[in-house]
């Protein structure tokens, strides 16, 4: 009896034990499934994160594209948690920050077309919500954040774990999926372009705006030009091929890669003698202080303001007949259409048009173009590319035309004028 009782007690104890074991097994098996917050979450597909920059710590855009599988449930919030790993405990990548993040625009395909707001209160989590969303997601989804700070560690991958929620407070998940991106070492590409200035002055037989006076400065030569024997019946304008003239113009060619352009000027060389030292004169002559005197051995300089010259009215001047484009190869250069970079000063542009000056040889009456010459030795700007849209200059050549006429009292003799030409580039 006692044994039977003990046996019943043992059987009862065994039942309790078996049931307990079974219960433990059941609880152990089902608990993870029942308690896992992602147990019912489905896989988001087509997940893609496009960051605006892969530079560490850059503040940039994060654009997510994906497709949620659950299209029958309204999404009221979304979170993209930045993590150092794709799975497991999420650790925010060093340097990643959502401070100052805004929505680049309202998301598309996620629900309502408007009403979504960003939430930056959770470290390492890009969040948006729309508690009043009443539209189920459809098609592909696009969500873009601006002002996201990249992780700071170079050559590091990081993962954005995306979760959609059916409530507006990121509590009840619907779907989830992870995408990845990387910030990489900064790669700097460097190159240098050396400063270039090729400037030369010489003489040329070219007397138009299109014929090349030489491919570049290496082909420019000559240190003088001769406008022949002056006569009161005309104004000799270079090139002069009669009365001893050498049929040449002056030329000044420039090439520079100065980003801010270049300015070309001249200053008349002060010759020996007295007064009017920089004009067309007989070297060593004693001229009058007043340039209006017509009996000394100095031909009156036209001055700093251009003007025409009348035959027999003593004057000496210079103008830029044209900006010659014949040697330009790096860009379209056409003087007649105004397509050139070296702009003439208004006192040395003849008549202000882009027509090559028609004055040439012995010009009777009054010249067609204006001329100027400053005999003081002070630098006078004659051209500049600083105001051009494209300030660099590729072998543009100024055709320098010189003009002179004597008065009936101008003494005979050998007259000469000299000038320094200077180019000043600004890089």
């Amino acid at each position: 009896m006692s044994k039977q009782k003990n046996s019943l007690i043992d059987k009862a104890a065994q039942k309790v034990t078996y049931f307990g074991v079974a219960l433990v097994v059941a609880v152990a098996t089902l608990t993870p499934l029942l308690l896992s917050p992602r147990a019912n979450a489905a896989q988001i597909t087509g997940r893609k994160l496009t960051i605006g920059s892969g530079v560490p710590s850059a503040v940039t855009t994060y654009a997510f594209d994906f497709t949620v599988p659950t299209t029958g449930t309204i999404v009221k919030s979304l979170a993209a948690d930045a993590c150092t790993t794709a799975v497991g405990t999420c650790t925010t990548p060093s340097g990643f920050s959502v401070t100052g993040v805004t929505l680049t625009g309202q998301p598309t395909g996620l629900g309502d077309a408007s009403g979504w707001t960003v939430n930056t209160s959770t470290t390492g989590s890009l969040r948006l919500a729309n508690s009043s969303d009443a539209t189920t997601p459809s098609g592909a989804q696009h969500v873009s954040f601006s002002g996201v700070t990249n992780p700071s560690t170079v050559n590091t991958s990081f993962f954005l774990r995306i979760t959609t929620y059916s409530d507006g407070s990121w509590t009840t998940p619907i779907d989830t999926g992870t995408t990845a991106s990387a910030v990489v070492q900064t790669l700097t590409v460097n190159a240098a372009v050396a400063e270039v200035l090729n400037f030369c002055v010489g003489s040329t037989t070219v007397n138009d705006a299109t014929s090349s006076p030489g491919a570049d400065c290496t082909a420019i030569g000559g240190t003088s030009l001769n406008i022949g024997t002056l006569d009161t019946g005309s104004t000799n304008v270079s090139p002069v091929n009669t009365n001893g003239g050498d049929n040449k113009n002056g030329v000044a060619m420039i090439r520079t890669n100065a980003a801010s352009g270049a300015v070309v000027s001249y200053d008349s060389i002060q010759q020996s003698g007295t007064n009017q030292l920089g004009t067309l004169r007989i070297s060593g002559a004693n001229c009058n202080a007043s340039s209006s005197t017509l009996t000394d051995q100095c031909i009156r300089a036209k001055g700093t303001t251009q003007g025409t010259i009348a035959a027999g009215t003593e004057n000496f001047g210079m103008t830029i007949g044209a900006v010659n484009c014949g040697s330009v190869s790096s860009y379209t250069c056409t003087f007649s259409s105004g397509a050139y970079n070296l702009q003439r000063d208004t006192n040395y542009d003849g008549n202000g048009t882009n027509t090559f000056t028609t004055d040439s040889g012995a010009v009777g009456g009054t010249t067609n173009q204006g001329y100027a010459w400053d005999d003081s030795g002070t630098a006078q700007n004659i051209a500049s590319s600083a105001s051009s849209t494209t300030k660099v200059i590729d072998d543009e050549a100024m055709i320098l035309k010189f003009a002179a006429t004597p008065s009936i009292t101008t003494p005979f003799g050998l007259y000469a004028a000299q000038a320094d030409f200077i180019a000043v580039p600004t890089y």
Binding site: Q14, K15, Y18, F19, A22, V25, T29, L30, P32, L33, S36, A39, A41, A42, Q43, I44, G46, R47, K48, L49, T50, I51, S53, G54, V55, A86, V87, V154, N155, S157, R161, G177, T178, T179, A180, S181, A182, V184, Q185, T186, L187, T188, V189, N190, A191, A192, V193, A194, E195, V196, R255, T256, N257, A258, A259, S330, I393, D394, D395, Y427
Partner: protein, 441 residues
């Protein structure tokens, strides 16, 4: 005891039912490892188990799907030139996921690029040049892509190197989507021979593109003639065992040129391999901190290189975009980028890059290298940046990418060139080369 056992059995059955979805995923033939990685918490262990099971079965490398490979349609066009472009349209809509194989040929030492109206990205499988053909030589190339949509498609070939005559032959196949082996050959005889290459999978498409001075208008033994443009032809055959294959065809004795590419069907998943991790993965590393092209010269091009690696494990591949503005000075003057693909031209202001091994303006750079080989890693130079000695730079362009999936490790070498004109503005030019990788999972 019986009750306890019944209770346990019931609970265990219930537990198994509760995990059936996860379990099914790693025994299903259509299983893709990456799809389970971010499922529910219970699925993570399941995917891990499934991954190991695939490895232990010996299914190393890219998985091959062994369905039939069918020729769907083809077309051709040719232009006696001189021309730099030729187009050909598929007469019917192509189907999403189908393999599009393009054979292109042209006079001179041509550098081709292929585009189509669907916007597919074409990858060069093989090209070959025979300077003895015709008066100017002849270049043949095979390109391929996978159709991104089911719609009409017109293909255009462009020859960036020179103007001459061009041939374009287009083909659509189902049942193949990835490149395996390639070969090319030139010669002078009565048999055109593409040269041999060994395939890595049992079931493949062997595609040949053959030309000669006296024409190739019939296929060799075992091959089916597909398209003939002018007097040059494509042909193919389906093979069912691994081996060494070549494509041959008869011709009247003359100079000839041949190229072959073999294709197989990949399901886009990598199940093993020591470079493939057991989780979604993306890693990009730039190995170079600076590239100095030095003082640029209007009489000689300056060059430099940098390398970066992309190691990925994605279902739909990745792209690498160059998002930086071209080099500029502190005052904002930009070194003119090469907006379209072209050769280095001394004396012309140019900034360009490619991802190829180059021989002009000097020998520098390197082709992308896939590790351990191209069956594991699928990274290539993107269109516009994929031709040796041709350079380009457009801010935002994709410069590297995968085609049918993204896995494994690919090392890319960026080749930079800089040229200036006689009036390129003086100064120090600099660019922080910002590379952005975008993977789709």
């Amino acid at each position: 005891v019986k009750r306890a056992i019944l209770c346990l059995v019931f609970i265990l059955i219930f537990s198994l039912l509760a995990t059936t979805d996860a379990f099914a995923q790693y025994v299903s033939p259509s299983y893709k490892a990456e799809e389970t990685f971010f499922g529910s918490g219970g699925e993570l262990d399941a995917s891990s188990t499934g991954y190991k099971a695939q490895s232990s079965s010996g299914a190393l490398g890219v998985d091959q799907v062994s369905g039939p490979i069918n020729f769907i349609q083809g077309n051709q066009n040719f232009d006696v030139g001189p021309t730099t472009t030729v187009t050909a349209a598929f007469s019917s809509n192509v189907t999403t996921g189908d393999l599009l194989v393009v054979a292109v040929g042209g006079s001179n030492n041509a550098t081709f690029s292929i585009t189509d109206t669907q916007g597919n990205t074409y990858i060069k499988a093989k090209d070959v040049y025979n300077p003895s053909i015709g008066f100017t030589g002849y270049t043949s190339a095979i390109y391929y892509t996978v159709a991104k949509s089911s719609s009409a498609d017109t293909v255009q070939a462009y020859n960036a190197a020179s103007s001459g005559f061009m041939r374009l032959l287009i083909h659509e196949y189902s049942g193949a989507n990835a490149l395996d082996a390639t070969s090319s050959n030139t010669g002078n005889s009565s048999t055109v021979d593409s040269g041999s290459a060994a395939t890595n999978f049992a079931h493949e498409l062997v595609f040949g593109w053959l030309a000669s001075d006296n024409g190739v208008t019939s296929a060799g033994s075992g091959f089916t003639l597909r398209e003939t443009a002018g007097s040059e032809s494509t042909m193919d055959k389906e093979v069912t065992s691994k081996g060494s294959y070549n494509v041959t065809a008869p011709t009247s004795s003359s100079n000839w040129i041949g190229a072959m590419a073999t294709f197989f069907e990949s399901n886009g998943g990598a199940y093993s391999g020591f470079l493939t991790p057991n989780e979604p993965f993306l890693e990009m590393t730039v190995n170079t901190s600076s590239v100095n092209l030095g003082v640029l010269d209007s009489t000689a091009a300056k060059t430099g290189t940098a390398t970066f690696n992309v190691r990925a494990y994605t279902s739909s591949g990745y792209t690498v975009a160059s998002v930086s503005a071209p080099p500029k000075t502190s005052t904002g003057i930009t070194l003119t980028p090469m907006s379209s693909q072209g050769a280095s031209t001394v004396g012309t202001e140019q900034f360009g890059i490619n991802l190829r091994a180059n021989t002009s303006p000097t020998t520098f750079g390197a082709d992308p290298t896939q590790q351990p080989d191209s069956t594991f890693a699928g990274g290539y130079a993107a269109t516009g940046y994929d031709t040796a000695n041709q350079y380009k730079y457009n801010q935002g362009d994709v410069i590297a990418q995968t085609v049918t999936g993204g896995w494994g490790l690919t090392t890319y070498t960026i080749s930079y060139i800089g040229n200036i004109s006689s009036i390129t503005r003086a100064g120090s030019y600099s660019m922080t080369h910002d590379l952005v990788v975008v993977a789709t999972y």
